[in-house]
Symmetry: C2
Subunit: 219 residues, 2 copies
DNA sequence: GAAAGTATGTTGAAATTTCAACAAAAGGTG
DNA sequence: CACCTTTTGTTGAAATTTCAACATACTTTC
């Protein structure tokens, strides 16, 4: 597990926990690492919601596919971030989305009940970890607020600009990469790909943005 | 505070805490109760995100108003439920939405730092409360997933039916009341009121639903 | 480096939503 | 009960989005 230390130090779950304690905890938690190729399903809709995932390398998307096969991208987790923690913490039966690797990815899986229901009173690191988990859940909540703010806009143009503004803030620069190709961006924003492409072109012509592949710039 | 005991027992924050401990904790937490008339603002966008709110009576809505004045209803909290807990727990600067009373409401306000940063190691009830708070954050997360699933549908009809299906599940009956009037429902679903009214009429004619004011039935 | 496959941009027609305006119904108030 | 206000339903025109189809650019594979 040593080779993952650098990523794990960045993971919100282990904030404030020293390396040597972290490594011991991983054993105690029964953490295991699995590799998934691009496009592979890490957790399928309907699976038991037992595990918290941590992205050690690569990236994953939470996908919601409806009755008619329409894909909606709910969220993205990148290196060092967690996923599926809300489902595991809420102790619901099964997970309502699928988690897909969008690149070859190494994923750490931890049975959430090991975090919630083991030695909660004795071990200080454990308390810290539960606190970290709570804070992370709150942060994810806020991210949902942001996503709702973006997708609740009525037009493709407004959704796109709202999303790019969020990215700009996150990146701390007017120029940044987004984690989506055009079809994925459309599925994330809840709009039509062709209309999205048209809108991007229009905004380029108007001199509002620059865009090339996944790189965007707000002018 | 005794007169609020019945509601507070139902509040997810105090689950598993006996009445006598609960009352002592309220003092320790510095909980206070305020009354708000219908349409009054409990927390305004931009306010410091210090407080967790608990609805003792009445109901509140989380409202997001954009630059152009378009209203979007993010969520509703009813009797016994919490609000603003994610903002407080994430310890962000200021709250990005407004919380409005939709009926005359009694609201309990608790400074979240009193929950997170006081006697966390000594007091068992306190540990329980933090655990409850975490679980509630996870549940709210899942509710956001549900809302996204509803609002990510492309047509007014699909959004409405998806929302009504969620209500049906929650109510455990094909007939139920929704917490919105027509304009509010439109602002919650992210559609036009007139189009929504038209769609409701259509679904009634087709025999798919019954609807009268806030009461709906799925046929 | 050629071939196949994937991603992106473009376009016009069809469908849907938004907008504005009004009428009818319901609710609140003196 | 009459008046005023708010809510809801309806409608048609304008704007926007979706859909389908195709051309081009870019990637991957052999």
């Amino acid at each position: 597990m040593e080779k993952y230390l650098e990523v794990l130090r960045w993971c919100p779950l282990f904030k404030g926990i020293a390396d040597e304690n972290l490594l011991r905890m991983l054993t105690c938690l029964g953490a295991r690492v699995e590799f998934f190729d691009k496009k592979y399903t890490i957790i399928a809709e309907g699976d038991k919601a037992k595990f918290i995932g941590i992205v050690l390398s690569g990236a994953v998307q939470m996908i919601n596919t409806d009755f008619y096969g329409n894909r909606s991208i709910v969220a993205v987790s990148e290196k060092g971030e967690m996923f599926s923690e809300a489902f595991a913490c809420a102790e619901i039966e099964s997970i309502p989305v699928s988690v897909i690797a969008t690149e070859p990815s190494e994923i750490m899986l931890i049975n959430c009940s090991h975090i919630l229901h083991t030695c909660t009173n004795n071990c200080g690191f454990h308390q810290q970890m539960i606190f970290n988990l709570m804070k992370n859940l709150a942060v994810k909540n806020i991210q949902f607020h942001q996503k709702l703010e973006v997708t609740s806009k009525r037009s493709t143009r407004e959704k796109l600009l709202a999303y790019l503004t969020v990215c700009e803030k996150k990146a701390g620069s007017t120029s940044f990469d987004i984690p989506f190709d055009r079809q994925e961006l459309a599925d994330y924003l809840g709009v039509e790909r062709s209309g999205l492409s048209a809108e991007i072109s229009k905004l380029k012509k108007e001199g509002v943005i620059n865009a090339d592949k996944k790189r965007f710039e707000l002018l």
